[in-house]
């Protein structure tokens, strides 16, 4: 599964640049994500990770560069465009409503309703239960309990489950484990792996290299608004990645992503 679909990337970014006034947030960034694979996106604070993601999610539009999704060039002008393509972003601060229950949060803004805008509560509940089961999210006692009563890991699971319920093909996770304890981090990482196994393309943004080496297949390093290296997890070390994040890759010709570790100085 993983090897079969790994031939053509689902999402390709070519030469994406974005500036805010005089600040060049991204310059000529290349990036890709493949179905069935977890691509990690790492970089120091201010490296441009969030800006890059917002360009894909439709919150920002890039000044120049190409976004290719499923082989076609696309222009994403808002979150709705992204959702239509099957791109879902799980934000760092979760974006859940504490006062609503799990089902209500899963369907937030996309409630199932009839012509009179009456809610189809049983339909939503059944589908939510099914999604939770398919993702093996088993720690939530009742999908009718308010999200306020859930632990951090459970809340993150709900946010991730919401992203995948809508036939999404690319899920972007922004620091999903930042606020979690050890056991809960493990829960979420297992969920991330399961998404990739189900054939989704997953982009994982994280500061935690331990997490990244646990689940990512490949790792893209951003530094000062440029994509400076792409590593395969099995062929690199945490030390090498840390070096790239903090000091860059001295002899690397910047901006060329690659599946093989050839561009690395041997």
């Amino acid at each position: 599964m993983t090897t079969a679909s790994a031939s053509t990337p689902l999402l390709e970014l070519h030469g994406i640049s974005k500036s805010f006034g005089s600040v060049q947030a991204l310059s000529e960034v290349d990036f890709e994500a493949r179905a069935g694979e977890v691509m990690a996106l790492v970089g120091d604070n201010g490296a441009g990770k969030s800006t890059l993601i917002k360009c894909v999610a439709g919150t920002h539009s890039p000044d120049s560069g190409q976004v290719i999704f499923d082989g076609n060039e696309v222009h994403i002008h808002g979150p709705k465009d992204a959702a239509k393509l099957g791109i879902e972003v799980v934000y760092q601060d979760l974006a859940l409503c504490d006062n609503l229950d799990v089902v209500q949060n899963m369907y937030l803004g996309r409630e199932a309703h009839d012509v009179l805008h009456r809610l189809k509560e049983p339909v939503m509940e059944a589908k939510t239960a099914e999604t939770m089961k398919s993702l093996a999210v088993t720690t939530i006692r009742s999908i009718r309990q308010p999200v306020a009563t859930l632990s951090g890991g459970q809340r993150q699971s709900v946010a991730v489950a919401r992203a995948v319920m809508w036939n999404s093909r690319l899920v972007i996770l922004d620091e999903p484990t930042a606020a979690l304890g050890v056991a809960q981090t493990q829960q979420v990482l297992e969920l991330v792996e399961r998404l990739a196994h189900q054939g989704l393309a997953v982009v994982l943004i994280s500061h935690n290299l331990h997490d990244i080496f646990a689940v990512a297949d490949r790792i893209t390093v951003l530094r000062l608004g440029r994509s400076i290296a792409v590593y395969e997890r099995d062929k690199t070390t945490q030390q090498e990645v840390v070096q790239a994040i903090t000091a860059g890759v001295p002899t690397k010709v910047s901006g060329i992503p690659s599946t093989d570790p050839e561009p690395e100085p041997a």
Binding site: A95, C97, N99, L100, G109, E111, E121, A129, S142
Partner: protein, 404 residues
């Protein structure tokens, strides 16, 4: 973390009633229990203290006295649900009173009562949309926008009837809106229809859940509630019929309650109201048009103020320079809050307003029958309000602490 211990229990296990109640408290909701218990205690207290308190006539008095405030408070619940406040409701209701009074003055140009009512309510809806736009589009705090409205609409009322000072309402429809009582038989028919709608909606919920293979939580509790509602309805009709009959305002309060509860709990719009109140940023990211929700909520507040204002004007058979003044604003907001609607947004039910208004009206009525002065009533109501808000704040803190 302690939450992980509970999280380890088996998947989707049907929780006990007690477990769900515990979850609700941890999640920051107590439901209507505190206000219902409080109301029971108040009724018991006054029935021992005051001789005429537990009489059919006094029951009718309480219902007609609370009607205007209750209608306003329904609107307040919606505004509080999105985490805003509307201080202009009392004078918006005054505007509605002035409009119906002026339009029905029998000077040859008068319009039918029902037309006047519809026009007045429409104007109030527009006022709500106008004020809501400042909040939704520009981001001016609702507190300030509606405080300005409070002054502006008060000024408009005084300006528009400064010549007359007081306008007597002679239109029957408008006066009947507050003072009409149904015949004995009509009372029973109305009760049967309202209960029929209520039971039918419960049954349809059961049926559609079964059709989709989703379990209905606590069917026993739902049946118990339904039985309680039916018993209360029958008792109310019996008591009312021993006095002047079922008051029209009672029907208006119950019908508004059913319609607004349907909107809040069963429609996408209602769901979006709760979402905006819970986390406006999350709602926006989920694609909900937050500005639209806010404006419609302020329009609902305007419409309910308008209806309340018409009932209040009809009760006095007149409007004067004080229309919309007095304790109306405070009572309406206090009713929603005492009933259990959170000031922090996202938590509350339309019925809270009814229960809260019942508490306020019962206290005022009971203290009056004891021949106590207005001062005692203010102090008592204020104390209860303080208690309700404190409870809300503690629950809110528990909710924050529950998650992590």
């Amino acid at each position: 973390m302690s939450t992980d211990a509970t999280a380890a229990s088996p998947e989707m296990e049907p929780q006990s009633l007690f477990g769900r109640a515990l979850d609700n408290i941890r999640g920051g909701t107590l439901g209507s229990w505190p206000v219902l218990i409080g109301l029971t205690l108040i009724v018991i207290f006054f029935s021992f203290k005051a001789d005429n308190f537990l009489s059919p006539g006094n029951f009718s008095n309480i219902i007609t006295q609370m009607a205007g405030v209750t209608l306003l408070a329904y609107g307040v619940v919606f505004v509080l649900l999105i985490g805003e406040i509307d201080l202009s409701i009392s004078y918006i209701s005054g505007i509605a009173g002035v409009i119906v009074a002026k339009l029905t003055v029998p000077d040859g140009n008068e319009v039918a009562g029902i037309v006047a009512i519809l026009l007045a309510v429409a104007v109030c809806a527009l006022i709500g949309a106008f004020q809501g736009s400042f909040v939704a589009f520009i981001g001016v705090p609702a507190f300030v926008v509606t405080l300005a409205g409070y002054q502006i609409w008060q000024g408009v009322i005084q300006k528009s009837i400064e010549a007359e000072g007081v306008i007597v309402i002679q239109d029957k429809t408008i006066n009947n809106s507050a003072n009409y009582f149904f015949s004995e038989r009509a009372g029973w028919i109305i009760a049967a229809v309202v209960l029929g709608i209520y039971v039918a909606s419960l049954v349809s919920t059961f049926v559609s859940h079964r059709r989709h293979g989703v379990a209905v939580r606590d069917p026993g509790l739902i049946v118990a509630k339904a039985v309680a509602v039916i018993v209360v309805a029958i008792v109310v009709v019996v008591i009312s019929n021993r006095d002047r009959g079922v008051p029209f305002v009672l029907l208006l309060m119950i019908a508004s309650l059913l319609v607004l509860t349907f909107v809040a709990k069963r429609t996408t719009f209602g769901r979006h109201v709760y979402a905006v109140g819970g986390n406006a940023e999350a709602a926006r990211r989920a694609g909900i048009n937050v500005a639209r929700v806010r404006i419609i909520v302020f329009m609902i507040s305007g419409v309910m103020s308008g209806l309340g204002g018409i009932v209040l004007a009809g009760r006095l058979n007149s409007v004067d320079l004080n229309a919309g003044g007095g304790t109306l604003l405070i009572d309406a907001i206090a009713a929603a809050v005492i009933g259990g609607t959170s000031l922090f947004g996202g938590r509350g039910e339309v019925r809270d307003a009814l229960f809260g208004a019942l508490v306020i009206a019962t206290i005022a009525n009971g203290l009056n029958t004891l021949n106590l002065t207005q001062g005692v009533i203010f102090i008592t109501t204020g104390g209860i309000l303080l208690f309700a808000v404190t409870l809300d704040t503690i629950l809110r803190r528990r909710q924050r602490a529950a998650g992590r």
